[in-house]
């Protein structure tokens, strides 16, 4: 008797549950899970003669990855992603800290200043920087007029890192800002009361307590900068090949879908490893805002 009752209850919750989760679930299956399975599947297939996929299983695509040329691309991608993360952090932390200290009215204005660029296409914004920084751009014109040496900044790795920091900084600012806002100000008073100078209070209390935000922000900057291709295309002028560019080239230029898929899987694995490290070190996925 009792068992039957329980079962009936489960059924009662099933329909409303399905109604709520169903649409999102379907969406995720159709546009997330199926394509992912497809990518993984074709990474083990053979390239067709004129592009496309021939459904003959092979491990060749993965064997190709071991090629030292590709190894260099991976290392460079990692290096640029790390530098991007580091510089984003250095720029974002003071900004987020200041943001949590300003008055409410200014806070919303500052937030708006961070968010508004998001409403404009990223390509457009980056091209704006290209215009400013290019050899005969306004910046160099100004520098020359002032009698200073012109900057040869565009189309270098520095320019790529700059573009990436510029693009991904909000992902760093927001979680750090959340972390700092959550900080109990009496803790800072307590530290000061116990003899800690401002610097020591920062190092011993503020920094460790905002580490979750730093961590979450770093992950959120690191992962997209590993895969982003258009930034290195625009700011690097196609001189610098990153993992993202490689994947794009394999798919669109070489029309070698299986190879592109294999690199995509590699990138996914990178990402998963980073995520795993994050959670293992005590990071909370909910911190990612």
């Amino acid at each position: 008797m009792e068992k039957k009752k329980k079962k009936w209850r489960l059924n009662k919750n099933f329909l409303p549950g399905l109604a709520m989760v169903g649409p999102t679930g379907l969406w995720m299956i159709a546009f997330m899970l199926l394509p992912l399975i497809y990518v993984i599947a074709i990474s083990f297939m053979t390239k067709g003669l004129f592009g496309g996929v021939v459904w003959t299983p092979t491990l060749k695509n993965y064997q190709d990855i071991i090629n030292p040329v590709y190894g260099k691309v991976c290392l460079k991608s990692l290096k640029i992603a790390l530098l991007t993360t580091l510089f984003s952090l250095l720029v974002s932390y003071p900004f987020a800290y200041a943001l949590s200290k300003v008055k409410k009215r200014w806070k919303s204005i500052c937030m708006l200043l961070i968010m508004v660029p998001f409403w404009i296409n990223g390509l457009l914004r980056l091209n704006g920087w290209v215009t400013i920084f290019r050899e005969t751009g306004p910046l160099n014109t100004l520098l020359t007029k002032l009698g200073l040496p012109a900057l040869n900044f565009m189309y270098t790795e520095t320019a790529i890192v700059f573009g990436m920091v510029y693009t991904f900084m909000p992902f760093m600012v927001l979680p750090i800002h959340t972390s700092i806002s959550k900080l109990d100000s009496t803790l800072l008073e307590a530290a000061s009361d116990l003899g800690a100078t401002k610097l020591h209070t920062f190092l011993r209390v503020i920094l460790p307590l905002t580490f979750p935000g730093i961590f979450a922000g770093s992950i959120q900057v690191f992962i997209p900068s590993l895969g982003a291709f258009f930034i290195s295309d625009i700011m690097g002028g196609g001189n610098t090949m990153l993992l993202g560019n490689l994947i794009k080239n394999q798919y669109l230029n070489a029309r070698n879908w299986p190879s592109g898929a294999a690199f995509s899987v590699l990138l996914i694995v990178f990402t998963l490893v980073v995520m795993q490290i994050y959670t293992r070190l005590g990071g909370d996925m909910d911190e990612m805002v």
Partner: protein, 370 residues
């Protein structure tokens, strides 16, 4: 009385937030080794005063001295005082040991010495064996002990406590009150304690300062404040009181006063009152007596309105002809009169506390160091 040395001196201290004056021109000496309590309802400026001593709030005017050293503009980390916060403010990323050691590490003490001191103080607050616990794994009472240990381990000149027991339940609070008092006596450190709980203040303190609207209404021992409140506010705030507005009709040679109220008159004692001055006369419920016949010197008539039995005592309300209610409490068999009886109220004249109504005059008295 032994020689008392002021360890903290507030010298004409004023604190303003914009146009809002929170602490008004306060002068105060706190003596070495005493348990000093600032008592008042929320928003009276007691916490602000404490925070100014700690250094968290800047002074708008005046100065603060710690052992004759001017600390008015000194940042908190340079002052040799420590604070126990109401919210404990334990560092959530550090275990008990590291929390307590925080101040000693700042002093660049040697590891062995830190270990020794932390062990000793944790022993004192009965938290030995809790060194590795994180604050999140502890109960409110335990956290409070850690907070006290963390402050005391630095051997401060003065320990500031900002409603430290406010978040604890009643039973634990009573227990911690006694423990704190014992701790203070044992260590001989000056405690400056802020609370809105009058019972807590009366239980623990050597001296109490009653604060209202940014000024100290009265500073004194629990007994002084209870038995001789200087202002109507203090009389109302500490314990229960019946306060009458009266006119001084006669000042006698022996210092006794004849007071006339709207309904009736009474005798009282008091210095510094003038004839025809309007005063407040306050009398504690436990001093009020009633009889069926008028008593010499008193002529206050009322009707017994209600009796409430609370175990060993009985609380009686008596209504005067003008509607004012007089509270009385006594042993059940002590001059009990049934509800509806017409009675004459009286009490021993020296139990009446007479207070000035002229506020300016009162503040002059306080400024003069009364």
């Amino acid at each position: 009385m032994e020689e008392k040395r002021p360890i903290i001196r507030l010298d004409h201290v004023t604190k303003r937030y914009g146009d809002n004056t929170v602490v008004r021109n306060v002068n105060l000496d706190i003596y070495e080794g005493e348990f000093f309590t600032m008592l008042g309802s929320s928003g009276c400026g007691k916490t602000t005063t404490l925070r100014m001593i700690a250094g968290f709030e800047e002074l708008s005017e005046g100065n603060i001295y710690l052992e004759n050293e001017d600390v008015g503009n000194m940042p908190p980390y340079k002052r040799n005082v420590n604070t126990v916060f109401q919210s404990y403010a334990l560092f959530p990323h550090m275990n008990v040991y590291k929390n307590v050691a925080f101040g000693l590490v700042e002093k660049k003490m040697k590891k062995e010495e830190i270990h020794e001191k932390v062990t000793e103080i944790l022993n004192l607050v009965q938290l030995s064996g809790f060194e590795k616990r994180m604050p999140s794994q502890m109960s409110g009472g335990q956290k409070q002990r850690v907070a006290i240990a963390r402050a005391l381990v630095n051997n401060p000149k003065v320990l500031l406590l900002d409603e430290p027991l406010g978040a604890l339940d009643l039973k634990l609070r009573k227990q911690m009150q006694l423990e704190l008092k014992h701790l203070q006596q044992q260590l001989g450190i000056t405690f400056v304690y802020v609370t809105h709980d009058q019972e807590e203040a009366l239980t623990m303190s050597d001296r109490i300062a009653i604060m209202n609207n940014g000024v100290f209404e009265q500073i004194g021992t629990a007994k002084e404040i209870y038995e001789h409140p200087k202002t109507k506010f203090v009389a109302d705030f500490i314990g229960e009181s019946n306060v009458f507005e009266a006119n001084v009709s006669e000042v006698k040679e022996d210092g006794s006063l004849k007071l006339i109220m709207e309904y009736g008159d009474m005798e009282a004692y008091g210095d510094g009152f003038e004839q025809n001055e309007i005063v407040y006369a306050s009398i504690r419920p436990e001093s009020v007596k009633c009889s069926l016949e008028p008593v010499n010197g008193f002529n206050i008539r009322g009707m017994v309105k209600e009796h409430i039995y609370i175990g060993s005592i009985i609380r009686t309300t008596i209504e005067l002809p003008n509607g004012q209610l007089v509270k009385k409490c006594a042993q059940p068999d002590d001059d009990f009169k049934p509800v509806g009886s017409l009675v004459y109220l009286h009490w021993s004249p020296d139990k009446t506390v007479v207070m000035h109504t002229n506020e300016d005059k009162l503040y002059d008295l306080i400024d003069a160091g009364e």
